[in-house]
Symmetry: D2
Subunit: 390 residues, 4 copies
């Protein structure tokens, strides 16, 4: 019998939606499932918000008191979908209560927070995971497979970008994502960490970085509602008071990996025309890989030992012959969406709980990513190469 | 209070998975939801299969007796996810029992069946829908919006393709999809009807067709298991007995629409390298539209009245500013997958039930599509223009 | 010593430019060259036009009397770059004068003209070629190579399109291309013949066709100048008198090849947003090929026997490892333009003269293409399958 | 009357071919032409090589003594197509002899050489140009036009790459391009300078750089022939002696522009699968531009003020409505190749001579690019931000 596990989800915003969908759907896709996640209780800021989240996301109960929920003995899993400023507090409490934890990215606002969290889960012996879901895109997992099989040889160069445009409009609202005390950092924590996570996954640990960070829009209209709307959909009209943006809008960095590879990274939320433009370009001694999340069903791979007259990037649509293919759709091209990446993430998390083997990225990986984020921010200040302080 | 509606789903294969996911997820995306679908009972061929489907897809009950289920007074919705040969019988029984019905495509094996089904739901006054989900891709709905707003002018030409390759291997198993008595037809019913449905949606009724139909592989190995695996994943080895394929592998057709537009259609499951390659190319007197489902987050549109120096197809990534955008993801490019198309379909179905306004495509639309399928098959025989027998 | 051959070019418009460039450049690219083309004399409608063409295109002499030029004993090659209505007369005279002939496409206005031309060159024993230059695109020649080597197996299906938009504007001028007495036909002769030529080259002879032909714009403003400007660049203003368009704007056709393959063809000059959109999609029993001239440096090829986890279309950029690669540029991607296709054509023509082996497409191939064009026009009238009258 | 100008071309390799084609073709495309270039004399290392170049490229005379040629009073233009090590000597002599000069890129091996060259032409008052031909791609010129018209606003970010793979094979021959004493530098001078030139053209002067430079393959087989074959086409077999590579294989750099824009640059000849992959991604306050030379007929542009429901990158195929369109082909998509970029370059050069207005990039621009190259190499050594030493 597949075990039912009770999930308490803290946070009922856009990420709550994605996670709730995954809890409901994961066993439908991956069967026999490692567990049946039971949407037990959802926590939001107010009781009213929590009750709406309960009804909407199909949870049994609602609460506005995460501490009480974390303490409940019937809860197996704590899922942290809040803004970054409470990740650490919740995770540490959950670990102390012996709960398995999945935490949205970035793991924390600071290295110190991340370090405490990693220590807490280690001490507690629970399973922990950071929700860098883009790793779970089948095409990215396929890239990993090719690399591990040596099919593109030794990696020489990694180029990663994450370009969005939802904050390009200087009159977009001052959401929590522009406030250091809540978010920790701007683009660096919000999206560059995804690229760092992918770099760690595919290439290995980053050793030193050399970055430019910049803030294009120094002030923004104060937000009228509490909802986290990305972008100008809630654009201010008239004479709205503006508040200070104290985080970065953009980061460019050169990278040196421990294994000798070099590379670069760019992340911005101000690149008009780019939506969720996560691209990877990886060159090895025997081939190359290219990926663009905006066309995420596909991986492009080039094998240098193909015959001279038929050499070129292959556009591989992922399906049953590729990672996670058994669980997803019966032929390639039916469609990998954001949902599918979250369903796969959910599967890997509960598989880890079932097997007792830590998933990746776990809090240690999340800490390492925070260390790189910290080095990026430091280098943005100093203008010099900064070492990742493992 | 959002109304809870009890769903009985008949059929627990790949389509059952997609529908179950949608029932669980729809209210998470579209809130307030038109209804809360309750996964009440799932029906499969045997009790064992039904119980597995129940556990996997999160239904409350399992049954192998669809007639008994259809008769239950507590059931509001019958969802038909079976092979084509029982669509009509189930739908008619469900209509007579006063249930709302969503039926997988194609509506039926024959025009006669489809006609009976359409008559039955009309008589019963229930809500009915055919699950041509590709209409629900936001980019396709955006194409519809542009056309209705007159932004590409009067449509001159529609070109639609649906190319797959899962049956290209002559040693792929003889699934029910290759057997006329179960499927009704081959590529025509299975996938060309999707293109016909899109043509009807975007352009209007097809009046006459002129087609080639062909069968490339006349026999296939008898299937060892009952499961509907698309393609060669279950490829036969050794001396397996072969059975006859009595349906079409490919159809090419020219089209004439009632409104004067012309066009063409091609569908095949034997085009190596194409996976779920649904493409639309639509030319109007003021612009053009291009869509490729394999890159379904995007719609390409060209407006002829753009300035001469900056005229060209725009690649529009669908998001909050586009159809269904409020319910789906907060920025474009996060990812539209097969799941999202089914969630939108589910939303439109329950909205129809709530409002009492028939959705599209309903059984009348499904019948019209069957009439075109019939004309395609007739023209494939006669080699002449055949009129769609409305 | 490479032989110098004297060329007389009849017609000094856009095609004259392309040919003159090729005469000057061919030996630079293909060395040792099969011959050194000497731009001896250019003929245009008036002396003044001919003298301008002489100066511009670097010819030694100018003339407005093509008959006198054809009769000159010092001329080795006659190059026909005129509108279609004088192709036959010039070619037949040139053949009778014993000249080698390259003639722009389509070969003639009618099958009868083409037949006379083919008979004349056969009788004269000269070398003859029709300038269907798109065959000379290295990527197309690479497709031919793959097919001949059996790498995509037996061809099942050929889909070709040629979409342009320069005549979409109903107020574009009534150039000779819209007048049957000069052009013979519209889109069929002007651009569909390119697709037919490519189909013959890559698949084999077309046996029967079944077509729609249509004329969207029945009248156009009379042209103020004699120059052949494609499109609305010379759009009429004010109350300009309009003349009748008596040729087709668009053709759609289904195809049956002698070898059993099926296919389709579409050509139009009214597809907004498509410029020189010649696409080929060819499916075989072992793979597929895709080509789009608008991205002509690339050929896409899919081999069905690639490993399941790395199967997909390869994007092959043509270069030294591919047809004509030795003569063109030292690495792929430097850039194949219209010029390069014409330089290759020129090379193949003079190679034929040098070796005495007829090039392809020669006048016999051009006649066959005319026969298909004739069948397309007939089928457009009858609405029935029409046999190519070999 | 259009003036005939005598050209002496020094160097008969691949670049000689491209230039000779342009001299012959330019007036055919741009008429009335600013001048008729007369291919007077070609110079190569030996008399035999020069005579072959004369016959192949259609020059009147051949010589192996460039000094004598430069001194000839009948020569108007000196064209330097040699390896980098003799650029300075020839250019200075040509300037002193009062000749107009077009010099292949990079201008020189070192800043000192470039400075002397710039001083010499300034003193002599002749017209001078550096052959960074990629600026002449119509799509790049269109990007410049959009930027100058303010259509993408103030530029925030410039990302440029130039990726090739012809030197990825460690057994490719040790051509002069891998030898510092001849080439000056490796990837930096050979191809990164193209990106620098494009950055200067589109954004403005680069102020500081911070770079990684690296050499992947430290030795290569000594070359058996003198010919400059890019890549492994002449791959060594057996026990061939190897020589040292003393230049860079790859450069990655961050950029800061004088106008406040930031950016990055990457160039390598070791990126398997990339051929002539020059890409530009430029983000401004009102829009974005993307360009990929491998698909050079197209420019992608996004205007932020497009309506929300139809916003996205437009794929603009360049043609008559765009820069250089009057001279090139009558509709977009016929094909811009390497030839066309060189023909445009030739047109701009002779236009400069005719008008007496210096073209861009001239030797001053070339010197500025050398200064950036020097800063890149210095930063590769120091690991710190280095100022461009204007």
């Amino acid at each position: 019998m597949t075990k039912v596990m009770n999930v308490a989800m803290i946070g009922g915003g856009f990420m709550g939606k994605a996670h709730a969908m995954a809890y409901a759907s994961m066993p439908m896709f991956f069967w026999p499932a490692p567990a049946i996640p039971n949407r037990k209780v959802v926590v939001d800021v107010t009781d009213a918000m929590a009750q709406t989240a309960r009804d909407r996301y199909g949870f049994e109960e609602a609460s506005s008191d995460w501490r009480a929920v974390v303490a409940r003995p019937d809860i197996d899993v704590i899922d942290i979908c809040t803004p970054n400023n409470v990740h650490a507090e919740i995770a540490i409490a959950a670990a102390e209560a012996g709960k398995h934890i999945i935490c949205e990215k970035p793991l924390a606002r600071t290295v110190e927070e991340a370090r405490s969290m990693a220590a807490a889960v280690k001490k507690a012996g629970v399973i922990h995971m950071v929700a860098f879901n883009y790793r779970r895109t089948p095409a990215v997992a396929l890239a990993k497979k090719y690399i591990e099989e040596g099919r593109i040889g030794r990696i020489l160069n990694f180029r990663g970008t994450y370009l969005q445009d939802w904050s390009a409009d200087p009159d977009g609202p001052l959401s929590w994502r522009f406030q250091k005390k809540i978010a920790g950092s701007g683009t660096v924590g919000d999206i560059a960490t995804h690229v760092v996570d992918l770099a760690h996954y595919l290439v290995g640990p980053i050793e030193t970085v050399n970055a430019i960070t910049t803030t294009y829009n120094k002030t923004r209209p104060l937000q009228q509602s509490g909802v986290d709307k990305l972008g100008a959909s809630e654009k201010a009209s008239g004479d709205v008071e503006r508040g200070e943006v104290d985080v970065d809008d953009e980061v460019i960095s050169m990278l040196r990996f421990e294994n000798g590879a070099i590379g670069s990274l760019e992340a911005t939320r101000n690149a008009y025309g780019r939506n969720n433009f996560i691209t990877l370009e990886i060159h090895g001694t025997k081939g190359s890989i290219h990926f663009n999340y905006e066309r995420r069903d596909e991986l492009q791979v080039m094998f240098a030992d193909d015959p001279a007259d038929s050499r070129g990037f292959r556009t591989v649509y992922t399906g049953p012959a590729h990672p996670y293919g058994d669980g997803l759709w019966p032929i390639p091209g039916l469609g990998i969406g954001y949902s599918e990446t979250k369903i796969v993430e959910c599967f890997d998390f509960f598989t880890a709980i079932k097997t007792g083997r830590l998933p990746s990225p776990n809090f240690d990986d999340g800490l390492l990513t925070e260390l790189v984020a910290d080095a990026l921010l430091r280098s943005g200040e100093t203008g010099a190469w900064e070492r990742v302080g493992r």
